[in-house]
């Protein structure tokens, strides 16, 4: 189990995270927050790229700073800006990363084959990565993160650059892995985690705003999300009065989905989704 105990992180005088308390067990955790909310800092703390200014991060009761290489051996990480060597083939690149991860060379060769198969790059294993598309590069990134069969898998914006088919495939992979691993997915794309995450962690104002299941988080907005039909000229007035989370055109009219504490006649109450919560929390940011 990974525990974050009262962690604060300052960059000189700037406070990036304040008194964060979290516990991660096996399963998928979606870390949702808009850009600049401290997601990446939190992930960097978990992956030992940064050290907390205050507080501790524990893995199975021991500080990760003390576990050092033992902890990193259990870690798989896909950074937001995933660095790679343009002249390398994916096979050569995975071999290099596998060695740095401390994997046995005999085991490594088999594992590279499996990972390339998993991300659908077997046919391209001998092509130089400089010829790859953004989506293919991202798939190599996912493969390297999974290479050492990590106990803790940390993925920072993993679906960036993937097409819808690749995203679906990626979600399938994550779901199959989450049984015996802690998977942490940081994203600002709600649909990436809405249907696969067991827990959602939302950050706001440098603190944990909520940490719960999708169902429980959405319950908090129950009875506050409505849909109604408005004319195009009225739309700006509605946007001023209410937080409009989405709009779609139906003929000459526009159907808006919005948040309001109380319902009125003519407003159709709808079931809140995670996206509604996200926009409710961060809409104005």
């Amino acid at each position: 189990m990974l525990q974050i105990q009262d962690v604060t992180k300052n960059y000189q005088n700037f406070v990036a995270l304040e008194h964060i308390n979290l516990e991660f067990e096996n399963g998928i955790y979606g870390l949702l927050a808009p850009n600049g909310a401290g997601k990446t800092t939190l992930l960097k703390l978990i992956t030992t790229l940064l050290f907390p200014t205050e507080g501790k991060i524990l893995y199975d009761g021991v500080e990760i700073r003390k576990l050092d290489a033992l902890y990193r051996e259990k870690l798989g990480f896909l950074p937001q800006d995933f660095g790679y060597y343009r002249e390398y083939t994916p096979e050569k690149y995975l071999h290099y990363i596998g060695v740095l991860k401390g994997m046995e060379r005999r085991e490594l060769q088999d594992k590279i084959g499996q990972m390339l198969e998993l991300v659908g790059l077997s046919e391209h294993k001998n092509k130089k990565m400089k010829k790859f598309s953004g989506g293919m590069i991202q798939r190599v990134g996912i493969a390297q993160a999974l290479l050492n069969d990590p106990q803790i898998l940390v993925l920072d914006e993993p679906t960036a650059g993937l097409d819808p088919g690749e995203r679906m495939r990626f979600r399938k992979i994550l779901t199959s892995l989450s049984k015996d691993k802690t998977v942490l997915v940081s994203t600002h794309i709600v649909s990436d985690v809405e249907f696969i995450a067991n827990h959602i962690v939302m950050l706001k104002d440098k603190k944990v705003h909520c940490n719960d299941t999708v169902e429980n988080i959405c319950k908090k907005l129950e009875g506050s999300i409505f849909e109604t039909v408005v004319e195009e000229e009225e739309l700006s007035g509605w946007e001023e009065r209410y937080q409009v989370v989405s709009r779609r055109r139906e003929g000459r009219d526009i159907v808006i989905r919005f948040i309001s504490r109380n319902g009125r006649q003519g407003w159709q109450p709808v079931k809140p989704g995670l996206e509604d919560v996200f926009l409710f929390l961060y809409g104005k940011e």
Binding site: M1, Y11, Q12, K44, T47, T48, L49, L50, F51, Y59, D60, G61, V62, R65, K66, L67, D68, A69, L70, R72, E73, L75, F77, P79, D81, F82, G83, Y84, Y85, R86, E87, Y88, K92, H95, Y96, I97, V99, L100, K101, G102, Q144, V154
Partner: protein, 273 residues
């Protein structure tokens, strides 16, 4: 979990108890076991030693992986070094300086060349974050490469000491000893810059400082410089080189230690590397 008779109520009670609290009890036991195991492993890994460092460097990472994709860097550094050494020797001999002074000044060129070029290439790849999350971090690779560069410099200096000795009928052993001590002093200073300044920039400043001091010394006190290198005992140079090597390996081990990584990342919060 083996079942055992637990006094009052026996197995049935124990089953019931586990039924109610089972998950929590098992989880608690697992956690305790994990903590114990981690503490045992901690005691085993707390002290990085020389053998461990060498095994990590040359066996677990391996020379092939350390310099994978670095053929261009090594070739360019090698060509630059050969040209620089040639020019330096010509210029210094034209000015009537000793061949030993030329050997001393040019000995760390290959080390510095490979380091700077490989660092530029590594930085360009943007793989720092990923490497820092691996068992062998960016610093393990950095330290291992620095050791490798020492070795390459040592071999290269040996070869050119031999070539200079033949060409200029100089004392080959003295040339080799002078270049060896120079390389190791430079490596020491370079790693000290990295450790003290907690950044590559400070190491590069030390590197520039070393060349600058040598050239200033050569410019303002050429006679003293030449005489020192020609007249100090060869054993002294070898002794300085060996001591330098031992200290340098200790420095490299410090670079891979968690404490340095923490200081470095804290200092690097506002910069790229």
């Amino acid at each position: 979990m083996p079942e055992k008779h637990c006094g009052k109520g026996g197995i049935a009670d124990e089953r019931q108890r586990r039924g109610i609290y089972g998950g929590r009890l098992e989880k608690g036991e697992e956690k305790e076991q994990a903590v114990r195991a981690a503490k045992v492993l901690l005691s085993e890994t707390a002290k990085p030693d020389f053998a461990g460092f060498m095994i990590d460097t040359f066996v677990n990472i391996g020379v092939k992986q350390l310099y994978a994709g670095m053929a261009d860097v090594i070739s360019i550094a090698f060509v630059i070094t050969v040209l620089s050494v040639y020019l330096l020797v010509q210029v210094m001999l034209d000015k009537g300086e000793s061949i030993y002074a030329a050997a001393f000044c040019s000995a760390p060129l290959l080390y510095a060349g490979i380091f700077v070029l490989s660092w530029i290439k590594e930085r360009g790849s943007g793989s720092y974050e990923l490497q820092m999350s691996c068992k062998y971090t960016f610093f393990h690779v950095l330290a291992a490469r620095m050791l490798g560069e020492c070795f390459l410099g040592f071999v290269f200096n040996g070869m050119y000491a031999f070539a200079l000795a033949l060409r200029y009928r100089a004392d080959g052993i003295r040339l080799f000893a002078v270049s060896f001590s120079s390389l190791m002093l430079f490596s020491l200073l370079f790693a000290a810059g990295l450790l003290w300044g907690r950044g590559i920039r400070s190491a590069l400043c030390c590197c520039g400082g070393w060349f600058l001091i040598n050239f200033l010394f050569l410019f303002f006190a050429p006679a003293v410089y030449g005489r020192l290198l020609q007249e100090l005992p060869v054993l002294l140079f070898i002794g300085v080189g060996v001591c330098g090597m031992c200290l340098h390996i200790r420095q490299l081990m410090s670079i891979t230690a968690p404490s340095f990584r923490k200081e470095y990342t804290n200092a690097a919060n506002t910069r790229c590397y």
